[in-house]
């Protein structure tokens, strides 16, 4: 059905999505390091930077919650209906510390590698 060009394009997209999902947890934690946010805010915050479906953030939030890295609370302060806010826990902060460090050193190595490769060509 698809031309071969289109097939690779789709596969590239899927790969891209997998990359993004892999670091989404880190992005969510990083956002919550700044302040508590409700789910929608986080979804907007991340999809603005990462060009990923809006719905992707919700499963990740639930996973982080079930693993105890974030907690939720309802806040009625804003007057309207209560909003479910997410807040990072101590273990979440630890996780963020470790993983952001790993991520930074990893990307540094990769970019060095990529640049090194292109230098040889």
């Amino acid at each position: 059905m698809y031309s071969s060009e289109r097939k690779t394009l789709i596969r590239g997209d899927i790969l891209n999505i997998q990359y993004k999902k892999g670091v989404m947890e880190l992005c969510v934690l990083s956002a919550l390091m700044q302040r508590d946010m409700y789910g929608y805010e986080l979804s907007i915050f991340i999809s603005k930077e990462m060009d990923i479906s809006d719905g992707t953030v919700y499963p990740i939030l639930r996973k982080l919650k079930s693993e105890g890295f974030v907690t939720t609370y309802l806040s009625e302060d804003s007057g309207g209906p209560p909003r479910k806010y997410y807040s990072i826990t101590t273990s979440g902060k630890q996780k963020f510390g470790n993983e952001s460090q790993q991520w930074l050193s990893f990307t540094m190595k990769i970019s060095k590698l990529i640049k090194g490769d292109s230098d040889h060509e």
């Binding site: 929608y40 919700y58 499963p59 639930r62 907690t71 806040s75 479910k84």
Partner: protein, 234 residues
Amino acid sequence: MNKNEFIRELRKQLEKENISDIDEIINDFEEHFEFRMEEGKTEEEIVKKIGNPKDIAIDYTNQSMKKEKTKKSIAAATGLVFLDIFLSPISIFLWASVIVIGVLSITLLTLGFCLALSINIANLIPNMPYVTSILFGISMFGLSISSFIGTFYMFQYMKQWGKVFFRWQENILNKFVYPSLSMHPKISKRISSKLKLINMIAIVIFIAFMMVGFIYSMISSGSLGFWHAWGWFQ
């Protein structure tokens, strides 16, 4: 696809993947729609950006959520029912107290009126000079205002404690963690400081007029126990 179609499809996919707490997940997405629509997006636009229901459902599968929770909450619910049965007489008693204090306030107010205007209903008020009657009447006004304020606070506290207790039970039964509520009712600072001032003035009026009333009565009757002189309690 519009919102309802998306939600229905998502629910179907989640059920297919045997995910627990589907309602909570659906709630998150419904909230998402609400926020987006407030921004002026149409349902179709939102659905386009939100992603494929099947993919979303699959994202939820690689998480282990304990399903024992339901068993635990049945035990908790049973415990809470017994606690409720035990606590309800106490609650009824406290609410009854609020009503009693409220009725007392109304009675005091009526008494104040009767005294100040020298209206003697069914001969309940003993015989006394007009000035004494007015002084005691004003004093009763003060007491009734203070009592009304007391009723108001008691009512607010009872309401708040009811809410606190309800929220506490809800938190035990639900997986959602709601913030626990303060034991103190929310009364705006402006109102509460005004009420405090009024209460203070009312109490001062009550004490002052009571004292003046007593002194006047003693002088005018020429007796420390003026109630004997006027033939009360006989």
